[in-house]
């Protein structure tokens, strides 16, 4: 029963992705560029949702993982001119290692303490980037000599299919027995432990998966932008946007996070005429949604389906 429902959602998702892959025929390059960024952000949000929605750990530092992956990849490309795929691989690996270093002390603590540790990690990374300006470009940012491709359409397709594959893996994982154990550990870790599940091991696993996808997406994003900076990848505001995207889309749904990310990017585009106030309006809207509509769009959709 559960299996068939999972399969059905994956099939619907595939149909949507295939439909989205024909978008370049109809829309302008500008919109494609926006969507490309939105898809990468969708991956960030999905990775975050796995950790929060399922493992129950609020990670205020998604940008620590993203930034570690992105800057490692960017710096390697800058210094040694390695092929892009080697840089991306190294960045992903660095994010996983960074995630492990962060998770080991952080998972000893729970709730707000965990949130704080992850927040501190972001601030430390930010500090180090500013201090090591010679290597990282400091506050101005890092420019990399290589990009994935200069074609908007190819970039769009890479982002789309990368997001689709990541989403499918994360979603299937969340619906698997491991996902159930994670969910149980998130809701009542004492009981989950009493049932014989190794809670810490599973949470660590969730963290590593989250770090893997965040780092990979971060590294790819550097080679899409051709640059990396604190303001676009690491700042706490960026982390908050990732979190809002996941909450707006609906926690514990994984796929909802993509909807949230696309919605956020579309929203800031629609509100652009407001100028400097557009950010404020987006955050205010998000706050209203959190206050009155805490389950998000996708949350309502699937809940409805399940009851039917």
């Amino acid at each position: 029963m559960l299996k068939s429902q999972t399969l059905r959602i994956l099939l619907i998702g595939l149909a949507v992705v295939v439909a989205a892959s024909f978008l370049p025929l109809g829309v302008s390059g500008y919109v494609l560029g926006l969507l490309t960024v939105a898809y990468y952000f969708g991956v960030f949000s999905m990775a975050w949702d796995l950790l929060f929605g399922f493992a129950g750990e609020v990670n205020f530092g998604p940008t620590f993982l993203i930034g570690t992956g992105a800057y490692t990849a960017g710096i390697l490309d800058n210094l040694y001119g390695l092929p892009i795929w080697v840089c991306v691989l190294a960045g992903t690996l660095a994010a996983v290692v960074g995630g492990l270093i962060l998770a080991l002390p952080a998972l000893r603590v729970r709730g707000p303490y965990f949130g704080l540790t992850t927040l501190v990690a972001v601030l430390m990374l930010q500090n180090f980037i500013v201090v090591d300006a010679g290597l990282t470009g400091g506050e101005i940012g890092l420019t990399v000599p290589d990009v994935l491709t200069i074609s908007e359409v190819v970039n769009y397709q890479i982002a789309l299919w990368f997001m689709a594959v990541s989403g499918a893996i994360l979603f299937a994982l969340s619906r698997s027995p491991v996902g159930l154990i994670l969910q149980a550990s998130g809701q009542d870790d004492v009981q989950a432990g009493a049932l014989g599940f190794n809670v810490t091991k599973h949470k660590l696993f969730a963290f590593i998966i989250s770090a893997f996808f965040s780092g990979l997406a971060g590294a790819l994003l550097v080679f899409y932008f051709g640059s990396a900076s604190i303001g676009t990848l690491i700042d706490v505001t960026v982390g908050v946007q990732i979190i809002i995207a996941a909450v707006l889309g609906g926690r514990r749904t994984i796929l909802g996070a993509v909807l949230g990310a696309v919605f956020l990017i579309a929203m800031s585009e629609v509100l652009r005429p407001l100028g400097d106030l557009s950010n404020f309006t987006v955050f205010a809207l998000a706050l209203v949604v959190v206050l009155v509509f805490p389950n998000g769009f996708f949350g309502l959709l699937t809940r409805h389906k399940e009851s039917v």
Binding site: F128, V131, D276, A286
Partner: protein
């Protein structure tokens, strides 16, 4: 010479941190709320004091009063508009409320930051000090304002101590931080205590903010670091322990001052963050934390 300089500067910075973090600890101790809009509320108070002096041309005392008032109002608005609706919400599971309050206050803080940046730009703002001039202590030329800051901080901390330990309402607040259910059984309305605590918090961040504005100056970029420093001080001292926060504030204040003088101002915040990570690893409940 350098030793005395560090001693004096660290003391002033530590006192300021103590004042800012105590309100934060109080709120958490009584209602279990970690207010991530802390830095934004403080900056709002500073900008109000600055704008009052700059645009309305009021004197430094009136400016400071306006700053504290804005801190108080902002704090109460935060409680009524953001925190309370979430605490009373039926749609959110009880064990998820903490996370929702963290996210919502973080959003709220960023909203305030954006508004300040929009109306008053991102430039650093320094509030004109109440006392000027320089005093010579042990061969160190110290701005009188720095001493003033430390003294006011300690007066406010002293008043707070008296309020909590010597008045009836204060004792109710203290009791609520130890055992909320016990307090309701005694017939004390918990929501009223929450309002009182948020009001106290508002005054504390108002005073701390205005002093910070006179001493170091702030910009809308200070929002994140201010929240983080209060958060790390409170965690270092032990969540919910006000005296722990007091000690931790000086530890962080001196650590930062020493780093700034002895290594480089660019590294200022790093050792304190590292210390925090170490404490979390070795002793997650902080220096004086209970549990």
């Amino acid at each position: 010479m350098l030793f005395w300089q560090i001693l004096i500067d660290g003391f002033a910075v530590g006192s300021l941190y103590a004042l800012g973090a105590m309100g934060f600890a109080l709120i958490f101790g009584v209602s279990g709320v970690l207010n991530l809009s802390h830095g934004a509320l403080m900056v709002a108070a500073v900008v109000a004091a600055w704008a009052a002096g700059n645009d309305l041309h009021v004197g430094p005392y009136a400016g400071a009063a306006i700053g504290v008032l804005v801190g108080l109002v902002a704090s109460l608005v935060t409680y009524f508009a953001v925190v309370r609706p979430l605490q009373n919400s039926q749609k959110i599971r009880e064990d998820e409320k903490e996370i929702f309050i963290l996210t919502a206050t973080l959003l709220w803080g960023i909203m305030i930051q954006e508004l300040i940046a929009y109306f008053y730009t991102n430039n650093a703002k320094t509030v004109s000090p109440i006392v000027g001039g320089v005093i010579n202590i042990a061969g160190v030329r110290t701005p009188a304002n720095e001493l003033f800051t430390a003294i006011v901080c300690w007066i406010v901390i002293g008043v707070l101590w008296l309020l909590v330990n010597r008045t009836r309402a204060g004792k109710a607040v203290l009791a609520a931080s130890m055992n909320p259910r016990g307090v309701t059984l005694l017939g004390i309305e918990l929501p009223q205590i929450y309002i009182a605590v948020w009001a106290i918090y508002g005054v504390l961040i108002g005073v701390a903010g205005v002093l910070l504005g006179m001493f170091l100056g702030v910009s809308s970029y200070s929002v994140g670091p201010l929240t983080a420093s209060a958060f790390s001080i409170v965690v270092l001292g032990g969540l919910g322990s006000v005296s722990g926060a007091l000690i931790a504030a000086y530890v962080v204040g001196y650590l930062e001052t020493m780093t700034a003088y002895l290594i480089s101002p660019a590294y200022r915040t790093i050792p304190a963050l590292l210390l925090l990570v170490v404490v979390m690893y070795v002793r997650p409940r902080g220096l004086l934390g209970r549990r």
